[in-house]
């Protein structure tokens, strides 16, 4: 039982990083970024390729992946100057499709749909227990840094942009730079999460970075609540607790798959029905 719990807790820690960083862009800054999972995939692939193909040490691979995702996150924020709200969400969804197509078609590097196998865990963290500690520390560091950022005057600028961009601009705030910084940070952390996921599962393929993780991340943000890092963590814990505990429900074998999906969705609906802003959310999505 415990190794299974450790497996799930490791996933919870990785998803906590994904969701906290998504919340920085989506909850705090108001940039609905469906491309977040694309960045997650870029982080995973970068590290997988660097460590398996070029034998880079894990430390350099994780840093490179984080920096690359930060740069791409920054670039992704540029269109938000002109393209707002739902249109920005659609644009980032397009970005997710582009990254998916790259993972599938750049076969020399990514091995396409066959995926990359034999990704090793970093030395000293090869056991599931120690790897959990590594991901836990990473999640904790992410939490404290993002907590610091969101509680700072800069964090309040981000929230002002989310609530009313025009007012924020008229108060003399450089909103383009603030958005870019938020997306850079968001990209960096989700890139790190991608690296951790690749080295945890030890096998990645394009299906790992498609709509399934996006649904999980969005559900966790919505359940936990926008503009709340604690809410993000709580959201992830709830999503995993519900979906994983359904494994222990004895259902007829022919109904296991669909019934679990149905029950999971019912729980989500109930949460949203009673807490429309999420459990500890502070903002509404327009």
């Amino acid at each position: 039982m415990f190794p299974f719990l450790i497996y799930i807790l490791t996933l919870v820690c990785i998803y906590a990083i994904i969701v906290m960083s998504l919340n920085l862009a989506m909850g705090y800054t108001g940039l609905v970024n469906f491309g977040h999972i694309g960045l997650f995939g870029i982080g995973a692939y970068t590290s997988a390729i660097l460590t398996t193909k070029f034998d880079w040490p894990f430390v350099f691979a994780i840093l490179s992946a984080g920096i690359l995702c930060a740069i791409i996150g920054a670039l992704l924020s540029i269109p938000s100057r002109k393209i707002k709200d739902d249109y920005f969400a659609l644009l980032t969804l397009g970005f997710l499709f582009v990254t998916g197509a790259i993972f599938i078609n750049w076969t020399d590097m990514t091995r396409g749909t066959l995926g990359i196998r034999g990704i090793l865990r970093p030395e000293g963290f090869t056991e599931p227990n120690s790897f959990l500690i590594l991901t836990f520390i990473a999640a904790l560091v992410t939490f404290f840094i993002l907590e610091k950022v969101t509680k700072s005057p800069f964090g309040r600028v981000l929230e002002a942009i989310r609530d009313d961009e025009l007012v924020a601009e008229s108060l003399g705030k450089n909103i383009d730079r603030a958005k870019m910084t938020a997306m850079t940070l968001s990209g960096f952390f989700v890139g790190i999460a991608g690296v951790l996921m690749a080295h945890f599962i030890r096998f990645i393929n394009p299906a790992s970075f498609w709509l399934d993780p996006l649904v999980v991340a969005l559900a966790a943000v919505v359940i936990g609540g926008l503009a709340s890092l604690r809410g993000s963590i709580l959201g992830v814990v709830i999503v995993f607790a519900v979906s994983e505990s359904l494994r222990f429900l004895s259902l007829p074998s022919t109904m296991i798959g669909p019934m679990r999906v149905i029950l999971f969705m019912i729980v989500l609906l109930v949460v949203i029905l009673f807490r429309p802003k999420g459990i500890i959310g502070r903002a509404d999505l327009d």
Binding site: L5, G115, R117, I133, P213, P258
Partner: protein
């Protein structure tokens, strides 16, 4: 006050995590001890519980549910006939959703929570590869019926499959078209899925090895419906033969249609996903002169006949993907035979599987190579105006 709360909260989580880590330490040292090994030669009392992983939701459920049905058919038949030496077989099902993350979680749950020593799977290669990374160190046998990626060949000593690797099918058809049909220039059009890319890779490698030139190698993404660009490129390369490798027959039929519309002239080869009897009978004009390699699924064999008839009886329709489903059906019977001969110890079963020769299954006579891949004779099917002709067994 708020920061105090945060600190308390963090400390609580740290304590919980460290507690779990501390208490779980002895678990990894569990693999079979010598005493247990000795005792395991006989089947322990009670039912034999097998883990079962399949894609039960999402797109992959198109394959996953039929494979689940075939697996359950075998288990029900065995239990109705008295079980394995009097022990009933039980399956614990998990949905792997055809992706590595869920495949890993499903395998981890079966290994650690259900304490299962055997996992049968009709899963996608991605989920099976992620599961193999967990089953192998835990000493659990993973038996797959549908993951055909060549990567699974080297995934571990306790990883077996009852359906042959893509590497084999690509090689068989390349050899046939080059040696028997004298093709000098070959081409391939394949879907961007792990199954199709595995076949494409083995076909192009084998074609070069057998002395042919690969003049065209086109791919398309899942969901594409217009293949004219690829077809025009392939046409201009004028190959003697074109290998069409779609993931599903619907796309494959589209390609055949557009090849015909564009006046493409070459020997057409197709992968076994396009051999569904309904697909062929509905598109007779497109299957005018087509070759395909497929594992022998000879309805005149008693065991194959039993599988096809019992499936029809149990589910009121013919198997949707006969070859894959026969492989899922076979893996349960193969494990039954192994348990009856050597008990339920994984190492003994592994050795039995490596030694078994021409085991009579619904898919054909099966032996295993040193990697746990089945050596199953391939037959070449020649379809002329919708009529299937079996050209007999073919070895490259």
């Amino acid at each position: 006050m708020k920061s105090n709360n945060a600190i308390l909260w963090v400390i609580a989580i740290v304590i919980v995590v460290l507690g779990i880590v501390y208490f779980s330490k002895p678990a990894p040292e569990a693999p079979v001890s010598p005493a247990e090994e000795k005792a395991a030669v006989e089947i322990p009392d009670g039912p034999i519980v097998l883990g079962a992983m399949d894609t039960l939701t999402g797109e992959g459920a198109v394959y996953g549910i039929p494979l689940q049905n075939a697996t359950m058919l075998a288990v029900n038949e065995i239990n109705a006939a008295g079980g394995v030496d009097g022990h009933q077989l039980q399956l614990v099902w998990e949905d792997s959703k055809c992706n590595p993350q869920d495949g890993g979680a499903a395998a981890q749950k079966l290994i650690e929570v259900d304490k299962i020593s055997y996992i049968v799977s009709g899963d996608c290669s991605g989920a099976a590869l992620a599961a193999a990374a967990l089953t192998e160190p835990a000493g659990v046998m993973l038996f797959s019926a549908a993951a055909s990626s060549p990567d699974l060949t080297t995934a571990g000593d306790l990883v077996f499959r009852s359906y042959p690797s893509d590497a084999m099918a690509g090689r068989v058809i390349a050899s046939y078209v080059i040696k028997q049909l004298s093709a000098k220039k070959v081409a391939v059009i394949s879907e961007q899925t792990d199954y199709a890319q595995g076949l494409r890779g083995s076909f192009t490698t084998a074609s070069k090895e057998f002395g042919a030139e690969v003049v065209g190698d086109e791919t398309y993404n899942t969901g594409d419906t217009d293949f004219r660009t690829q077809i025009l490129k392939l046409k201009s390369a004028s190959p003697d033969s074109l290998y069409v490798v779609p993931q599903t027959p619907v796309t494959g039929v589209q390609i055949l249609k557009q090849l015909k519309e564009n006046g493409f002239k070459a020997v057409i080869l197709v992968s076994d996903t396009m051999l569904g009897s309904d697909t062929i009978s509905e598109n007779k004009a497109l299957y005018a002169d087509v070759y395909s390699p497929t594992p022998e699924l000879d309805a005149s064999r008693p065991v194959t006949k039993r599988f096809l008839e019992n499936f029809q009886g149990a589910y009121d329709h013919a198997p949707e993907f006969p070859a894959y489903m026969a492989a899922a059906y076979d893996q349960i019977y193969m494990l039954k035979d192994a348990f009856e001969k050597v008990g339920t110890d994984q190492k003994a079963v592994r050795d039995w599987l490596y030694e078994v020769e021409n085991w009579p299954g619904a898919l054909g006579d099966t032996s295993f190579d040193e990697f746990g891949d089945p050596i199953i004779g391939y037959h070449i099917k020649h379809i002329v105006n919708g009529e299937q002709q079996d050209l007999g067994a073919y070895t490259p």
